[in-house]
């Protein structure tokens, strides 16, 4: 089964990213998409983007990336969650079609 690899980041790599990791796991599971998640500090994202297909962060992005980068704060604020989930799945499906 084709797998999507996701970097989940936040500032310190321990608090908000932990919440988002779980949200992403649940989301992809509900859509039947196989996912591998790597939890990181946002400062590591640039050097680790070769290991993944997309990046989701609860921080602003300090730089541009070669993989799709999505802001995941909606998971924390509770505002715009559905829109975010749709965006994540759409992006993932597009990537999987091209794999």
């Amino acid at each position: 089964m084709k797998k999507i690899r996701v970097l989940v980041a936040c500032g310190a790599g321990i608090a908000t990213s932990t919440i988002v990791v779980k949200k992403i796991e649940d989301l992809f599971y509900s859509k039947g998409i196989s996912v591998e998640i790597i939890q990181i500090k946002i400062s590591e994202a640039a050097s680790r983007q070769t290991e993944a297909d997309m990046l989701i962060s609860t921080t602003m992005f300090p730089t541009e990336y070669q993989i799709p980068a999505i802001k995941g704060m909606s998971f924390l604020t509770g505002i715009g969650v559905e829109k975010l989930q749709d965006e994540i799945i759409l992006t993932a499906e597009k990537i999987l079609t091209n794999k």
Partner: protein, 162 residues
């Protein structure tokens, strides 16, 4: 939603009500002083938490309220804790979503975590709490640690009845 894990993390000696600070720096100095004298954090904690907040702000704005969850790297934490400040006057924190946006924050959770992956349940309940507008409004009125615990435990009981 069980708030018991969250309650067990909130450190009574680091809970403050109705304090007023002129700005973020005054606030960080206050929590550092308390946390350091209680042996919760290392010496570098103050500098690091200020730096972190500047580069990756932790202001969260829900539909009705704005809170902040400042924290820094695990290596500056000695003993895990959550500190809770309910302020008399809001102070400014920048938004996590847009660091040009100022948020007026009245409730601050300082997270002293060493390994968050083992704290998923507690973090989930923290976010659930923050997103619960009604509960957060009640939170603002709390004036003691025991009132706080009661509020969260009552909420838990209500959930269990459902």
């Amino acid at each position: 939603m069980s708030y018991s894990k969250l309650v067990s993390f909130i450190e009574p000696s680091l809970v403050c009500f109705e304090k007023a600070f002129s700005n973020q720096l005054d606030f960080f100095e206050d929590i550092f002083e308390k946390a350091y004298s209680g042996d919760f954090v290392l010496n570098d904690f103050l500098e690091k938490i200020i730096l972190r907040e500047e580069s990756f702000p932790t202001g969260i704005k829900t539909e009705k309220i704005a809170v902040a969850i400042p924290h820094t790297d695990a290596e500056y934490i000695n003993k895990e804790f959550i500190a809770l400040y309910i302020l008399e006057r809001p102070i400014v924190f920048k938004s996590m979503e847009d660091n040009n946006e100022d948020l007026s924050v009245e409730i601050i959770f300082v997270l002293g975590l060493k390994e968050a992956h083992s704290q998923l349940e507690m973090l989930q309940s923290l976010i659930q709490l923050i997103q619960n507008d009604k509960l957060m409004t009640n939170f603002k009125e709390v004036r003691s640690y025991s009132e706080l615990v009661k509020l969260l435990e009552e909420k838990e009981k209500k959930n269990e009845k459902n």
